[in-house]
């Protein structure tokens, strides 16, 4: 009988502690998702500090990604990477290649080679270029302009 009372009391204490932890987290200013605020029964008290550390880690990860996009990917760096990828493409002779040279008309690529080249650029920059955008990218300068726009749209670097 006493044992049952004790377990009931401990259960209500646990529930109070859950409410307290939720209030504490919201006072710290984190928008905590429900699964963080109400973890499984036995771990909630010990993970109060664990939750806030985890949330801090997540926020700092997002901050790092945001600064990487502004720091590492200026127009010059993008230009350099794009021209390197194009030079490594074996169907293009490096002498005739300039930023404004047209792939099909001046460099003699056919549409299948153009697709392969854009796949190489997708591999380099880590995101996919959809079909309707791909058919418009006919010069290295078009590619560089497109990538700069895409990098600005994104808040973090996609992998």
């Amino acid at each position: 009988m006493l044992g049952i009372c004790r377990t009931k009391a401990s259960l209500t204490l646990q529930r109070l502690a859950k409410l307290n932890s939720f209030r504490a987290l919201s006072s710290l200013g984190f928008t905590v998702m429900p699964k963080f605020a109400l973890p499984s029964s036995n771990k909630h008290i010990s993970t109060l500090s664990g939750i806030s550390q985890h949330a801090i880690q997540r926020c700092s990860q997002w901050r790092c990604y945001a600064s990487a996009s502004s720091a590492g990917l200026s127009q010059d760096k993008i230009t350099e990477r794009v021209m390197t990828v194009i030079k490594l493409f074996e169907k293009i002779s490096a002498e005739k290649l300039t930023i404004e040279s047209h792939f099909m008309k001046e460099l003699g690529l056919d549409s299948l080679d153009h697709v392969e080249l854009l796949m190489a650029i997708e591999d380099e920059f880590g995101f996919e270029i959809p079909d309707q955008d791909a058919e418009k990218l006919n010069k290295p300068s078009d590619i560089i302009k497109y990538l700069c726009e895409k990098m600005e749209d994104r808040q973090y670097v996609c992998m």
Partner: protein, 131 residues
């Protein structure tokens, strides 16, 4: 039947998007662990697609192009289903093309006609190089 420019360009877009789809498949090819190395098979997919697409690059009849598009789609679906990028060779032993009461020899033309649609590009004697 007149060939309209619109149908040719839309076919061109479909062909290019099929090529792109095949190259994206090759990027993430899982292979079969213990049986087939994913890198070798991915290299095979790229070379095979490159060869076959370029072989038929100057076709102009829309019906023929349509049949080749169907061939590419069936190759893609078979590769995804079996996880094997190589073509599924049909088995044509001697006598299988015979009709009852009229046994025929296995002729080259008979074998060509009996090949499935996704083997269309292999009819003229082209065989894939499988290492």
């Amino acid at each position: 039947m007149s060939v309209s420019a619109a149908s040719l360009s839309s076919q061109r877009q479909r062909v290019l998007s099929l090529y792109r789809q095949i190259l994206r498949l090759a990027r993430q090819w899982p292979g079969r662990p213990g049986v087939a190395d994913p890198a070798t098979e991915a290299a095979y997919i790229r070379t095979e697609a490159g060869t076959l697409f370029r072989q038929h690059k100057s076709l102009s009849d829309p019906a023929v192009i349509e049949s080749h598009i169907a061939e590419a789609e069936s190759r893609i679906n078979l590769a995804l289903h079996y996880n094997i990028p190589y073509p599924r060779m049909p088995n044509l032993p001697p006598g299988c093309l015979a009709t009852p009461g009229q046994p025929k020899r296995r002729t080259a033309r008979g074998m060509d006609d009996a090949l499935p649609a996704y083997m269309k590009s292999y009819k003229s004697g082209y065989a894939p190089k499988i290492k």
